[in-house]
Amino acid sequence: MTAALSERPKLSRRFRLQYEEAQSRWVLLYPEGMVQLNHSAAEILQRCDGERSLPEIVAELEQAFNAQDLAPQVQSLLEEGQRRGWID
């Protein structure tokens, strides 16, 4: 069972999103763990600040990457993030 996604998704304060120079990528740091993020996951999570709404995040990404129909991809990443506790 999955709880509904928040209207304005926010990265949990229990996770730290950080760019790692030595790995040339973004990671999520948490107690005794590290998730190595791919480019698109990092771009999505950077926008989960509790202020932007889901459609706003999608629109921003579509504009930034000159892409279309990103909503399903964003939705699925956020659902996974919520399941894994990254997203409040």
């Binding site: 790692e20 030595a22 948490y30 005794e32």
Partner: protein
């Protein structure tokens, strides 16, 4: 292909474990510290630790655990945490709780400490205090509340063995009541003091299965719950497995442990492995140690492996298991971890489990400086 070798690729030391001191106010019977800890006195200075953290961060280290012994015994801990935070580490204090006063907790918060791992020995005062040979149960409860007051994510760690396995349900209840984000139920692995006391700690398979069933029931109840919850990790004991763990995720792969005296190790138990010539950060750079030292390259890749690992199709999954366990049980660190049922020495592990109940007339040994000196008497001393 039989006999094939590959040149190991050297990754990054993503995890740095800083064992600041081997001194500890507790006397736990299952401590994995080296039993010769009392003979290791030359602790590194603040400046030397800062240098270690800076070098390792440049090489990619991101997770940093301050451990020991009891790291709070170092009065420069706040200074080290502050520097670690400035460098961009995600910092973890691994503590017994002894010494975490409200004043020090506030200073550590201000220094940027990210989370705290607090050890408990049991859900009951009697067993907690007996196993650690200290009166620390009430103190740990207070410290747990202090950790939550400072809004740190808390990992509660409880080492399991035959004495507290029947209490697993209560231990979980305690972790939930204290609002721990994670509960690590780590079954005893037999190194250091735990190796000496193995007969007293060894559970039966039935005791283990019952405890695991309790854990699984709790997990099922948590399924689908919203709001804060406690995630339970159940670390299975090697001796009851048929395949070894992927120890350290592979030797010299991601893990770098620095001992109080500056010894650099691919695993915090590696001090006891013979012939390794472990390098020391006091005279060698971490880049040199990580990339080129003999010790860190000794078990990288698969060219060091013997049969059955050498041709095993699981060798890149478990890397042959634990080198320290191979040495302790077979006397040869290049053997397959005898936990593996394919190992010609596997029967020794089976016997260690089987014989434990018949060997409990041997006295239990609490970790202490005096016992450490007795176990490692210096010739002509």
């Amino acid at each position: 292909m039989a006999g094939s070798t590959e040149t190991p690729t050297v990754g990054q030391p993503l995890w740095l474990l800083a064992e600041l001191t081997y001194q500890c106010p507790l006397h736990c019977v299952f401590c994995y510290n080296p039993t010769q800890h009392a003979r290791i006195n030359d602790e590194m200075s603040t400046a030397q630790w800062v240098d270690v953290m800076q070098q390792a961060r440049k090489l990619g280290a991101a997770q940093l655990g301050f451990s020991g012994g009891e790291p709070l015994l170092r009065d420069d801990l706040e200074e080290l945490v502050q520097e670690a935070h400035r460098l961009g580490y995600y910092t973890n204090l691994i503590t017994s709780g002894v010494g975490l006063t409200p004043t020090r907790a506030q200073k550590l918060k201000d220094a940027g400490l990210d989370h705290v791992q607090l050890s408990f020995q049991d859900s009951t005062k009697e067993l907690n205090d007996f196993l650690s040979h200290t009166k620390t149960f009430d103190l740990k409860q207070r410290v747990a509340r202090l950790i939550k007051q400072h809004d740190w994510p808390m990992v509660m760690n409880c080492v399991l063995h035959r004495h507290n396995l029947p209490h697993v349900g209560k231990i979980i209840e305690m972790a939930v009541a204290l609002e721990a984000e994670y509960l690590e139920l780590a079954n005893t692995q037999y190194y250091g003091w735990a190796w000496i006391n193995r007969d007293h700690l060894m559970p039966t398979r039935e005791e283990l299965q019952e405890a695991e069933a309790v854990v699984n029931r709790f997990r099922a109840e948590q399924e689908g719950k919203t709001g804060p919850r406690t995630r339970v990790l159940f670390v299975v004991p090697d001796y009851f497995e048929e395949r070894p763990k992927a120890c350290m995720n592979g030797w010299g792969s991601v893990f770098l442990s620095i001992a109080p005296d500056g010894l650099a190790m691919p695993c915090h138990n590696a001090r006891d492995l013979p012939g390794l010539q472990l390098p020391n950060v006091k005279d060698t750079s971490i880049a040199e140690i990580w990339q080129r030292s003999n010790a860190f390259n000794a078990f990288r890749g698969d060219s060091w492996m013997k049969a059955p690992c050498r041709t095993c199709d699981e060798r890149h999954k478990d890397f042959g298991g634990c080198r320290c366990q191979a040495f302790l049980i077979t006397g040869d660190a290049t053997e397959a971890d005898p936990v593996c049922s394919k190992s010609p020495h596997h029967e020794k592990v089976v016997q260690l489990v089987k014989q434990a109940p018949t060997r409990r007339s041997i006295p239990i040994v609490f970790r202490s400086d005096a016992e450490s000196r007795l176990l490692h008497a210096e010739p002509n001393a």
